[in-house]
Symmetry: C2
Subunit: 404 residues, 2 copies
């Protein structure tokens, strides 16, 4: 819990530094919110139920659909752009394995109302700010960046129907996770010719914008978006964190433009975070579309990475004072002492039973107390207590009203 609070505190501080407002969404949503027809992993693993009123509901697998719903609901009452962040628990229903739990937390930042790549650049900047805060450098982690428009341009070239686009993205996202033969088979069943498939796979292997320009020409949006992003990265000062990688498409159906994912340079772990532009999500929920982009950043992979790099912080329980009466009759007096200290802003662990001193010292060590305050009969009659500084062993009789 201390570790989780530390992580969330960093998420929150970075988000606020970037001028984002915190929002939250229901844990239980209507199942319909997540029904998309692209064969996403997130859909197959939906943690869904029928409730007592026979409604189909689901524990949210992600936060973006709820965000879309909220944006539509707010309508014209909010002024754009919205810069929102959320830290929320998400669920999946699947067999649990190492590093794949049924519940995890996700930090989301979203910008609604900005069509320019400046928004994606700002989001990536905030993640990098977070990485730096927790001690990670560009030699530990980086971002792979592409645009779904690359794919779109290839598919258009080979006259693949528009409505196959989401499905093709999901298939491509599985490259490296399932055998290439299966990928090819899946693409064929998505109305792609063999020639188109081979051309697509070749383009997906590209790792430089120059090569991409050779293939697609200089005029398309895919290339101009990506060029702008890399140019902004220079101004932000994070170029060394960024690389173009055409194989990145992300596994959610709704992305439409730039997509990116954070990865560890040793290549041992799953993606650390991922996001992109989703300009047409709102209309799928019956709202008017607004330009939008965002990312999700889970709590699991980043903690594994920090552990591996020895960067997990030491977060011990720490209570400043432990207060103990030396006599059962003085239990009330000890309460008085604890109250005085707490009213002065100090934290106090009050010993609530009559315990031997040995026990009290052990407890003091466990809670990393700075001082032990003993309430004994002789001192109490003089309105005093015994204050022991635990690091030095020094002790002092102190008047109650001089305690601080």
């Amino acid at each position: 819990m201390r570790l989780r609070n530390w992580l969330f505190h960093n998420f929150r501080e970075v988000s606020q530094q970037f001028g984002f407002e915190e929002v939250d969404f229901p844990v239980l949503e209507s199942e319909a919110l997540y029904i998309r027809k692209a064969g996403e992993e997130i859909r197959d693993q939906l943690y869904c139920f029928e409730d007592r009123g026979n409604r189909r509901v689901a524990l949210r697998p992600e936060l973006t659909p709820s965000l879309a719903r909220l944006v539509i609901q707010k309508g014209k009452s909010v002024s754009l752009p919205l810069k929102w962040f959320a830290i929320g628990q998400c669920w999946r229903y699947e067999r649990m394995t190492r590093g794949r739990r049924r519940e995890h937390y996700q930090w989301n930042m979203d910008i609604i109302g900005v069509p320019d790549v400046t928004a994606e650049a700002e989001l990536i900047s905030s993640i990098i700010t977070f990485f730096k805060r927790i001690g990670l450098t560009a030699s530990d982690v980086g971002f792979k960046v592409s645009s779904r428009k690359v794919l779109q341009e290839v598919l258009r070239c080979y006259s693949v129907p528009e409505n196959m686009f989401g499905r093709v993205c999901i298939i491509i996202d599985k490259i490296g996770k399932i055998p290439m033969d299966d990928i090819r088979k899946d693409l064929q069943s998505a109305d792609m010719s063999e020639v188109a498939i081979e051309e697509l796979l070749q383009i997906l292997s590209l790792k430089s914008l120059a090569k991409l320009e050779e293939k697609l020409g200089a005029s398309g949006e895919a290339l101009s978006d990506l060029k702008q992003l890399f140019s902004l990265a220079e101004k932000y000062g994070y170029s060394e964190w960024l690389q173009f990688d055409a194989s990145i498409v992300r596994g959610l159906a709704y992305y439409t433009g730039i997509v990116f994912e954070g990865f560890d340079r040793e290549g041992k772990l799953r993606a650390i975070c991922g996001g992109g532009r989703y300009d047409r999500l709102l209309s799928t929920f019956g709202g008017d579309d607004l330009p939008a982009c965002g990312f999700g950043f889970g709590d699991a992979v980043i903690l594994e990475l920090l552990k591996e790099r020895g960067l997990l912080p030491q977060l011990n329980l720490q209570v400043e004072n432990i207060v103990c009466s030396l006599d059962p009759e003085l239990q009330g007096a000890a309460s008085t002492v604890a109250t005085i200290l707490r009213e002065k802003g100090q934290s106090v662990d009050l010993v609530l039973e009559n315990k031997p001193l040995k026990w009290v010292f052990k407890r003091a060590a466990r809670i990393n107390a700075r001082r032990l305050i003993l309430v004994g009969k002789a001192e109490w009659q003089k309105g005093m207590v015994n204050v022991k500084t635990l690091s030095t062993g020094g002790q002092l009789e102190t008047k109650l009203d001089e305690l601080e």
Copy 2:
């Protein structure tokens, strides 16, 4: 969200001042964890489902059963007493009305391993510390206190079977919520004679410990526990917040000793919080019993009370700086400026599109920015930006490396 964060921050700070450690529990639990046979409201309104693996599960209605499970699981690996707090979302399935939502948050503090009333006194002290922090006084709110042992002694007197105890408590908790005739009928069906019922109802109307002593005698645990609590309250300095009220039994089956609830003195609202001792809860889950007590404090009633008293804090969005380029070509330069400020710990809302100045000033006002930083061509060529202090309207050309 700002209000919720403010409330939770106060819950957390008080808990830590009292030396409590934060814990958390699963949102989805096995339904069996909540099956008790006492006809509790919390049981009837359980938000339960069958999951995809045909298991009966429930969105947690409260945190205490999860806590019990965790304590049993930890077993001898933790040193007693445990002082734990949690802030968690809880659910009920019922028709929604004003002030009764399907989801709410609860702050819980629990002490495991202390048999003495010192533990209850400490818990009540922490709630009072919280009340004071947020501006409430003893003339706004108070605590009604009793002990389930009062009831136990009466029932024993009239030979009511032990296993009826929990059920009788639940019935009594409904006094004032359903007609007295129904209460009497329910008590009869719980094996109570008419004489016993009338005696019980009379005792429940008592508001002073002296009267209770007349009825029950001075030797019982009920009276000695309550006397000790009121004596400790004096030492803590919160006597004026506390009153004995035999009608308080609380609506959960598992309490065994002292029970208390926070109330608003104007009597307009439901209980603000409630808690008590539950020394025999662990054995109902198959563990060894440990002395334990705790409270639950919801987020709904307290916010209503603060609203009514005009004590809700003004919590505006506040971003320190707004940074804007005056020329589309300088968007990258504005990113550089934003990054410099953020690296110095400042919060910055970066304008991500080319917008008229009028729009920028409006946004600056909405986010309560202290400074507007404009990146214009002439200044930028000199390595400078225009820094406008919004409260005074004063502006200053500032070198980039002198920005702070």
